[in-house]
């Protein structure tokens, strides 16, 4: 079963092709990392999926349906999305933030409250945090609330844009654990955009490496580690060096 399919999708800005033509299929249940340097087109790829950007040529299908066919906002309500920089609504409590999509969908207060409570538990956040304002949260806590908000209405597809940016290593690991756990528990298809391969290599089932708007490598973490292309080598160099140093220390 295919969750996401790009068919010769292309994005043009100012007469220049910034993405594609791109052909890519993501199977249901996949945990796919999209990696690459800044400006490689990772975020553009992600935004084509929930139509925050529209393809200028080709098609993008979600669950077999062209995303351009229906209402954009309705499409996005059905897809979990965690924005780069989290972007919690500063004037709403944690509970109101998490309950944002249920509110847009017109859920009842009781059902929303139960779902918020369950998500706080799954995110390993204290229930008392429900009434706090986002300004009072740490970076790691805010990221988890952002993740909970993305999952609130029970989407089957989750899009994460640089979820680990600006987090310290320990917090990253904690968040990555939560993402992995949610991915399994909710039976998601997950697409993570990241410029850093370390987390992707250890968590993802598949890694797509992009450069200049095109996919240059696509495979399992082991296959990516073995890839000889300069762009891929540059991305894996730093996690590999770190791994070697750690191994040397342990000997």
């Amino acid at each position: 079963m295919v969750a996401i399919e790009f068919q010769a999708a292309q994005v043009v800005r100012g007469g220049r092709v910034i993405l594609g033509p791109l052909d890519l299929r993501v199977a249901v249940g996949g945990l796919v990392a999209v990696a690459g340097a800044s400006g490689a087109g990772k975020t553009t790829l992600l935004r084509l999926v929930n139509r925050m950007m529209a393809a200028d040529a080709g098609r993008v299908l979600v669950a077999g349906v062209d995303v351009a066919s229906g209402d954009g906002a309705a499409l996005r309500r059905g897809i979990g999305y965690a924005a780069q920089g989290v972007g919690l609504f500063p004037h709403w409590t944690v509970a109101e933030n998490i309950g944002a999509v249920p509110r847009l969908l017109g859920w009842g207060a009781g059902r929303t409250r139960e779902r918020v409570s369950a998500l706080l538990r799954m995110m390993e956040l204290p229930q008392a945090m429900a009434g706090r304002m986002p300004g009072a949260l740490s970076g790691g806590q805010a990221s988890r609330v952002g993740l909970a908000r993305a999952l609130a209405a029970g989407p089957k597809l989750l899009l994460l844009d640089e979820p680990f940016a600006a987090l310290d290593p320990e917090t990253r690991t904690g968040l990555a654990d939560r993402i992995e756990a949610m991915h399994r528990a909710e039976g998601l298809t997950t697409l993570i955009v990241t410029h850093d391969l370390a987390d992707a290599l250890t968590r993802a089932s598949r890694i797509v490496v992009m450069e200049a708007g095109l996919v240059v490598a696509d495979g399992t973490p082991a296959a990516i580690l073995a890839d000889a292309q300069p762009a891929v080598r540059a991305l894996v160099a730093s996690p590999l060096a770190l791994a070697r140093k750690l191994a040397a220390l342990q000997r």
Partner: protein
């Protein structure tokens, strides 16, 4: 002094109600327009610079000029709408004041709106879009609540500016706290100025504090502060509303008690009261009071609109917004007839009597009998010592003398004419505000000053006006003018023809201008009325 304060305080309630009503209405109109502009800027960020630029330029026009410009603009609009729709637009009073103030309030509101929307973090907007908010939901649920504190700041600035600028509405004939300030400044009645300023400032401070409370509450998301601010505004509204209802009640009582005279048949049925105009200086206030009292004595309902800008007054008369007021032949010669070459006094009067009705529908009901002309004055003793009686005598001595003028004199045609005709060349030339001019003379800083011939200080300070033997200065005969809507008023005041000589006018002017034992314009008018032959 206590009586002066009591009189000033008596004037406050009615004007406070009008002032606040005007300010709130203007800001409300501006807020509607600003909301539209902000939405346009949010939808098309490219026009942002253009909109802020245009609104900013409006702000650079002095408020006084903006108000004055709206008057002729509305007159033109009225002429067009009357021709095609048969509906006339009021050009004097509330409407021009409302529009000018609304325009003036636009900048802080638009800027506050734009800055407020601009302050919402990009990641928050991205998240709002990404979770599936529509454009409207994003605006309503995210952008407006987050922009509210900054927008509130803009509203606060707009409100305070508008309450301050609304004092200028007096110059276009709209009742406001400026009535006290303008009248006080002209009559040197500091109690009036002080009370007017204090009332306007107090109003501004109260509203500012209340809106500030709401702004802080929105910023810190404390609903208590927001409600406190709202309560302060409601309290103000109730208090002012109470004044307004109280005022209407008193007016009602006044009308009921006046009904007796109506029954006796002396009162004429007129839909609107006769409007007596006055420009913004003491003599005009006195004359307006005199005319108003005379018309009331004939059973007419009368309203005085004092403090009109000099440029507005004649237009207001010609347009029928004012029914009767006093202007001066030399002024009308240029402003109403567009003449530049001076003419002898008699010829000027003849031409005005002939051409004002033809060109503006305005009739000269009476020449009051005195002039309020530009003249040069010296201290009597000093003029005698130097043997100076006329401008010819002065010209011979001017090289050793210093002249002090009012601020506008040196840019006026009169000064050019004096230099041309008499060849006047002074040793020194300085300009002062009118109050300080006489002091410059008495303190010896100047030997000759410019003066208005009906100024009360001429007799009081023992000054002598130098004779204009060659007729270089135009005549400024005080003329009682009647507008086109109620031409029959001319017959009611025709008896004033030639009744007020310059000595009487000087004395009446002195009563309201002097520092001690000051009289109100109404008192001075009553004194003047007693002196009149009929």
């Amino acid at each position: 002094m206590r009586a002066q304060f009591a009189r000033a305080l008596e004037m406050v309630p009615e004007r406070l109600v009008a002032h606040l009503g005007l300010s709130v209405a203007a800001v409300a109109v501006a807020a509607l327009v600003a909301a539209g502009l902000v939405l346009v800027m949010a939808a098309w960020p490219r026009v942002r610079g253009l909109v802020l630029g245009v609104v900013g330029v409006v702000q650079t026009i002095p408020a006084l000029a903006l108000l004055a410009l709206f008057y002729p603009f509305l007159l033109a609009v009225s002429a067009v709408s009357e021709r095609y729709l048969g509906v006339s637009v009021p050009a004097l009073g509330f409407l021009p004041a409302l529009l000018a103030l609304a325009l003036y309030a636009l900048l802080p509101l638009v800027r506050g709106g734009a800055d407020g929307l601009g302050s919402v973090p990009a990641a928050t907007l991205d998240a709002a879009d990404g979770i599936g908010m529509t454009r409207g939901q994003r605006l309503r649920l995210v952008e407006l609540p987050l922009a509210a504190p900054i927008m509130m700041g803009g509203l606060r600035t707009a409100m305070v500016w508008t309450i301050g600028a609304a004092t200028l509405a007096t110059t276009v004939g709209q009742k406001s706290l400026g009535d006290l300030i303008f009248a006080g400044l002209q009559l040197q009645d500091w109690a009036l100025v002080l009370v007017g300023c204090a009332a306007a400032a107090g109003l501004a401070i109260w509203v500012d504090a209340a809106l500030g409370r709401i702004e802080a509450g929105l910023r810190g998301r404390r609903s208590g502060a927001v409600w406190l601010g709202v309560a302060a505004l409601v309290a103000l509204g109730v208090a002012v509303g109470g004044l307004s209802v109280g005022g209407l009640f008193l007016q009602g009582v006044g009308q009921a008690s006046g009904a007796g005279s109506a029954a006796s048949g002396r009162t004429e049925t007129v839909s609107k009261p006769v409007v007596v105009g006055a420009k913004n200086f003491g003599e005009q206030y006195v004359l307006a009071a005199l005319i108003a009292e005379r018309l009331r004595g004939q059973g007419l309902e009368v309203e005085v609109r004092a403090g009109l800008g000099s440029a507005v007054a004649f237009k207001a008369l010609a347009a029928g917004d004012v029914d009767i007021y006093v202007d001066y032949s030399g002024t009308l010669w240029g402003a109403a007839l567009g003449r530049t070459a001076p003419a002898p006094r008699g010829e000027m009067l003849d031409v005005l009597r002939r051409e004002l009705p033809a060109r503006h529908g305005v009739n000269v009901a009476a020449a009051l009998g005195f002039e309020n002309a530009y003249a040069l004055a010296m201290q009597r003793a000093r003029a005698r010592a130097l043997g100076i009686k006329s401008l010819d005598d002065l010209a011979r001595r001017a090289g050793a003398l210093r002249l002090a003028t009012d601020i506008e004199f040196q840019s006026r045609e009169e000064w050019a004419a004096l230099q041309r005709v008499y060849g006047l060349r002074f040793a020194g030339l300085e300009s002062y505000t009118p109050v300080l001019m006489v002091r410059a003379l008495t303190s010896g800083r100047a030997d000759v000053i410019t003066a208005f011939s009906s100024d009360g200080r001429i007799a009081a300070d023992n000054l002598v006006l130098l004779e204009d033997t060659r007729g270089a200065l135009p005549a400024y005969d005080a003329l009682l003018l009647v507008g086109p809507k109620r031409p029959w008023l001319a017959a009611r005041v025709a008896g004033l023809e030639g009744q007020i000589d310059v000595a009487m006018m000087r004395e009446a002017n002195w009563m309201v201008d002097r520092g001690e034992d000051k009289r109100t314009p109404e008192q001075a008018a009553a004194w003047l009325a007693d002196k009149l032959a009929y």
